[in-house]
């Protein structure tokens, strides 16, 4: 169980908790950027065991949560077409669009399939030459390279019936946007380790310097997270603001050159809307002109989408770390995993889902109206 048991050893964890306690002299607010880190923190009860001076603020790094409503609605529209096989990772199927989700579209007869790799979608396209196969390409720098690789393969193999519905986003512009917010309370960041595995750490020193904020590249297992917190607090207590790599077993300073080369060949940087946050300049990717023919938005020319976001859901504030999930009035009442008002409640990495699953004190769900 290397890399699982080893990195949740309670004796080593206690030592790290003790170290953090010893070094902490006053209140600090740290943001873990990635939803996977949020999930791990709540699931293992790390936040309960930290000194009370340390507040963990949950960041925007849940790929499902930040995918804009308009793209979800476009996905629903494309998936509804009878000639389309719509492929997606599983956790996108319950994300609410304007009134329905991919599960609902599937139950209405659409051919929606859960795949474990974008290359599975490409195989389905090869096996179904008379159908259009669309893969829902969302996520951060971690999922972008395999999706780019799939489009590269589709072009190379000449598979005309495959396309990608793209909504990829980048972490560093989001960190910048959070620090530029007048309401920002974040004093240090635990950066997402797997993002840096791909992209390296080159984008962070300038951010750390400009915002005078410590950034510690952090992994996902309990001991990884505790080590990230320990290093961030040490910097804060010492008045430092450098970039540190607390995840060296996975992250090299330069990242993965092969993955980055694939990204820059297939994608180009663009402004992107983040669900609940709004447009962040140069914070996403779209297919470059060379691969435009594989762009599902271009191929299906989905227009006239009118989105309708919940008026009570405060997931945007949760994503920016401005409130905790349970501070939203709808949390656990109108908004549950059964009836999610926002994506943060439905995603397995969403902060609201993590609080609901692991912290809730019991809220009855409502009845359904059809078999799903």
């Amino acid at each position: 169980m290397k890399y699982l048991d080893e990195f949740s050893d309670p004796v080593l964890a206690k030592r790290l908790f003790d170290d953090i306690r010893a070094v902490t002299t006053r209140p600090w607010s740290l943001m873990e950027v990635c939803g996977g880190q949020t999930h791990s923190i709540i699931r293992h009860g790390i936040d309960q065991l930290l000194p009370e001076e340390i507040e963990l603020i949950h960041g925007p790094g849940c790929p499902v949560c930040v995918t804009p409503l308009e793209i979800i609605d476009k996905a629903l529209e494309i998936a509804s077409r009878p000639d389309v096989i719509f492929c997606s990772f599983g956790d996108m199927l319950r994300v609410p669009g304007s009134g329905r989700d991919l599960f609902k579209v599937k139950s209405e007869g659409a051919d929606v399939r859960v795949v474990y790799s974008p290359l599975d979608a490409l195989r389905i396209a090869q096996e179904n030459p008379d159908r259009q196969v669309v893969f829902f390409g969302i996520g951060f720098e971690t999922t972008a390279p395999p999706n780019a690789m799939t489009v590269y393969q589709a072009k190379k193999l000449g598979i005309p019936n495959f396309s990608l519905l793209v909504s990829h986003v980048k972490v560093p512009p989001a960190i910048d946007a959070i620090m530029n917010s007048p309401d920002c309370r974040v004093q240090a960041f635990l950066a997402a380790g797997h993002v840096c595995t791909v992209m390296g750490m080159g984008e962070y020193p300038e951010l750390a310097e400009r915002h005078r904020v410590p950034i510690v590249v952090t992994g996902f297992e309990p001991l990884d997270i505790l080590e990230g917190i320990r290093r961030a607090v040490r910097q804060l207590e010492a008045g430092q603001h450098t970039v540190e790599n607390a995840y060296p077993r996975a992250v090299q300073a330069e990242g993965s050159p092969a993955a980055r080369a694939m990204l820059s060949d297939v994608f180009e940087v663009t402004d992107r809307a983040w669900r609940g946050i709004g447009v962040i300049p140069r914070s996403g990717w779209r297919l470059s002109p060379k691969y435009r023919e594989f762009d599902a938005e271009h191929r299906f020319s989905v227009t006239g989408i009118e989105t309708q976001e919940s008026t009570v859901c405060r997931s945007g504030e949760v994503l920016q770390g401005l409130i905790k999930p349970h501070e939203c009035a709808a949390f656990g009442k109108e908004c549950t995993p059964r009836n999610p008002l926002g994506a943060t409640m439905v995603s397995s990495e969403g902060a609201c889902a993590a609080y609901y699953l692991y912290r809730r004190l019991g809220t009855p769900d409502k009845e359904a109206s059809s078999v799903g």
Partner: protein
């Protein structure tokens, strides 16, 4: 599809739709099998349908499952399984050799479990309206005198025992159905648990609760028991028997082993004074060699399952909504 996943949606379908429509006092108990009084005998009666894909998987087939699933439902009432019915729904075009292999597997599993297939039925549906073979089995068995095993009997102080590694069947099925390779082949744990239960009853006729945590995994079974008995259940997360292969597969897919299906495992609630003896009896049986205590019932947080994490925190182990979905990254 979520309504078939064994979680909250499945439970609601039964409780809010089927049970009121059928209006049966016996059904209202909502156990894995019905408890019947017939001619002075106490019987357990159960039915289950099997729609597994693929039909053959590492460690078993739909034929084994169709026997073991129903036999285990009877065994979880403490009953000695006696007779099974078997209904085959075949999709037009399925090869007879495949039907034959499934039937052979079913017969062999019945002989191993010590039950007689007493009656059956066959239907054929049009091509495209089935998944090759569906099987429904129903079973009947005798509950020994003095045995009263029901989820409602879970009580504060009870020790929670599980008969071995969890999540194995679900990961085995995923490995073949989704074309995932986990480095090591994972065999389903499908098995008849009637013999194991008999050995447990021999040392402690007063077992409080037995449950085979199939769809929805251990977490679902524990939540159902906590709800039925209005008790809290506290788990020690580090004591959960999760094999390395299952843990790695779940970590890769973003799944929680507590929610992954099992087939040849049981969870038992036993008064603390009997726990050691029952655990020893379980470990002496081939299907219970790796049995462990994983927690206990408490008067706090009634209806809720709470796990003590390895680091010393706590987390709620909730009922899943439907099937778990693999995450994006």
């Amino acid at each position: 599809m979520g309504h078939g996943g064994g979680g909250t949606l499945s439970a609601e379908l039964v409780e809010h739709l089927f049970a009121p429509a059928f209006g049966s006092d016996v059904l209202a108990e909502l156990g894995d099998s019905a408890h019947l009084l017939l001619g002075g005998a106490r019987l357990a009666f159960s039915t289950d349908s099997f729609v597994v894909r693929p039909l053959f998987f590492p460690g078993g087939s739909i034929g084994d499952l169709a026997v073991n699933g129903t036999v285990n439902d009877l065994a979880m009432a403490g009953a000695v399984p006696a007779y099974l019915s078997c209904g085959f729904i075949l999709e037009e075009g399925v090869e007879l050799s495949v039907v034959g292999r499934v039937a052979e597997a079913l017969g062999e599993a019945a002989r191993t479990a010590g039950v007689v297939v007493a009656t059956g039925d066959t239907k054929v549906v049009d091509a495209g309206h089935g998944d090759g073979i569906f099987i429904n089995t129903a079973g009947i068995g005798l509950i020994p005198d003095g045995v009263d095993i029901r989820p409602q009997r879970a009580a504060p102080g009870d020790v929670v025992l599980v008969s071995g590694p969890i999540g194995v069947h679900g990961v085995a099925i995923m490995s073949v159905r989704e074309g995932l390779e986990f480095g090591v082949e994972i065999q389903s744990d499908t098995a008849s648990l009637a013999g194991l239960v008999a050995d447990m009853l021999a040392v402690c006729p007063d077992l409080h609760v037995l449950r085979d945590p199939t769809r929805g995994g251990l977490a679902t079974s524990l939540n159902e028991i906590a709800t039925a008995a209005r008790v809290g259940i506290t788990l020690d997360e580090r004591s959960l028997p999760v094999p390395e292969t299952v843990a790695n597969a779940c970590a890769f897919l973003g799944l929680d082993p507590l929610y992954v299906a099992n087939e040849g495992k049981l969870v038992a609630f036993v008064a603390a004074e009997h726990a050691d003896a029952v655990l020893a009896a379980m470990r002496a049986h081939p299907l219970g060699k790796e049995s462990v205590a994983i927690g206990h019932c408490v008067p706090d947080h009634p209806g809720m399952v709470v796990a003590a994490t390895g680091l010393g925190g706590t987390r709620v182990v909730d009922m899943p909504l439907g099937e778990q979905l693999p995450r994006i990254c």
